[in-house]
Assembly symmetry: C2
Homo-oligomer: 320 residues x 2
């Protein structure tokens, strides 16, 4: 298989954590190469580096950055996939820039109106949930959301071998007449779509516990959900750690934290390998900005897996 | 002061929990009366009941229910405020119906384009955050959101005596150019509004921990945030309780749960007295559907407080 290319410059922990993750992926038998600035990277210990002399920073305006920084690691990674040198790309860099570069260089799949970012949300002692779009398209139309539903369904089948993924539409009540105009229009389209298993509207409280596998939303709503989820978890974990493990921690508190550690591990998004940009002509994985070596190694594994299972071909078939 | 009227029929625990909450409010020196169906309520123990023979159920379509059930407890409560018999209304019933009844019977304040529901989010060892609109208006315009910002600012001043509440606009990035079309337009309006202390865009992760006091969003986004927050907390609390206090609970686990109990108590929305409908010509409090006696008692206290501090007059001044 052609190598997976990994953006060495993207993410809060780049380049060291990225390089370490790639090294572990290679040791795990995955064909993988780096993309990045040779002048800023040394001690690659035998890893292959595809040169790119520019870096898109996390806070840059994505469209502009991709347009101006043609020799950036993100743009080059997308080109390596487009040109057939690589089978897939992985980046923990600027999410919008990865989406824009993949879209502009790999192009949309035939029939796809807009791509969407599918985020996998780990659920302790349960099956992960898939949320899309989690931020590629802030303003959406109903027919785009219908395609998101189809792409999310296909992704759930290919990635998690679900046979009939339950598709829910994020709204503010279960009844079809609840929601904003976009959701009401989308509900009507999804209800008539026999290619998916549409279970109706779902709510914010179903993100972790609902009877649903794929949650469909416009990119604004999806992103707000993800960040509210992350923020709430971080806040609660912070509170718990400060009570049980703070300055005046007792033995009981510390023992209890040990008991709770497995929950935190299961909620760690590093285990699920990053978000996937669906609808472009190639596999593009967008890892969390805070990705460490394990997240990058897992992203490489998922990337290889999605290439081998022909996710892109399956998506094209679902939309075409 | 004229009495606060409380809907005896609304909420998952009606009527008993409501009646008990009203009794406690009365014992606490608050002038308060019930509204409800005399045939369904007995043992009122001296509480005053304003009769209303119909009940709007939690799942009913709000607009239709308010139009058809003219003798429902929710509609009658709003009329008692309109007619000057009561100073304020409290209901734990169908949120949309309370908002619709208050809007149709009390009418909008002069100059207000749309009312908004302001929800108070308790923050352990911190100042509560105010989120509006949390569900009254699913589809909004930028100038409505600007009014929500002004009303939220006024509410924070009157309710929590904040001097210069920090107003944030919910988006998917801090930069002004991030967000959907509605948010970008609203950002421009708020940036130019010298009557509020606008601190810029905030994200889902700022709901509990951000440097912001009032979070402004359209009712769809606000409601999604609230339910994601609630769902995430319930999920995590469930996980923690099952690990520390489940079937195989150890002494350490149970002791640790005791240590954590104060956090849960501080996060309990019952303490903050319910959401407030802002922009109508009267004080209307919408308690959580699961409200127990304490939540109702607190709602009555807040209602009386808001009447005494002339919240409605302050809102009129802020918009007019």
């Amino acid at each position: 298989m052609k190598p997976v290319v990994v953006d060495a410059m993207g993410g809060d922990n780049a380049p060291n954590a990225i390089i370490e993750g790639v090294r572990q992926a290679l040791e795990g038998g995955i064909s993988v190469e780096l993309v990045g600035d040779p002048d800023l990277l040394d001690d690659l210990g035998g890893l292959t580096l595809n040169p790119a002399t520019e870096v898109i920073e996390m806070a840059e305006e994505p469209g502009k950055a991709v347009r101006l920084k043609k020799d950036s690691s993100i743009v080059r990674a997308a080109e390596l996939v487009r040109d057939g040198h690589a089978s897939a790309m992985v980046s923990a860099g600027n999410t919008g820039a990865v989406a824009a570069a993949a879209l502009l260089r790999m192009k949309r799949l035939k029939g796809v109106q807009r791509p969407a970012i599918a985020t996998v949300i780990p659920v302790p002692s349960g099956t992960p949930k898939i949320l899309l779009d989690s931020g590629a398209m802030a303003d959406c139309q109903a027919d785009w959301l219908q395609q998101f539903a189809r792409m999310g369904s296909t992704f759930a089948k290919v990635r998690y071998e679900m046979r009939e993924p339950r598709i829910g539409l994020v709204s503010i009540g279960e009844e079809p007449e609840k929601g904003n105009q976009l959701v009401k229009e989308t509900h009507a389209l999804l209800s008539r779509d026999s290619s998916i298993n549409f279970v109706g509207n779902v709510e914010g409280r179903d993100v972790l516990e609902g009877e649903v596998d794929v949650l469909v939303a416009d990119g604004f709503t999806g992103n707000v959900i993800l960040k509210t989820l992350e923020g709430t978890m971080q806040f609660l974990v912070g509170q718990i750690v400060s009570v049980l493990g703070g300055e005046n921690a007792t033995e009981v508190g510390l023992e209890a934290l040990n008991l709770l550690a497995p929950i935190a591990a299961e909620l760690n998004p590093d285990a699920v390998g990053g978000a996937m940009l669906l609808g472009v002509n190639g596999v593009a994985i967008i890892s969390h900005g805070s990705a460490g070596p394990t997240a990058i190694t897992n992203a490489c594994k998922v990337a290889q897996d999605m290439v081998e299972r022909d996710l892109v071909g399956e998506l094209a078939a679902a939309i075409g």
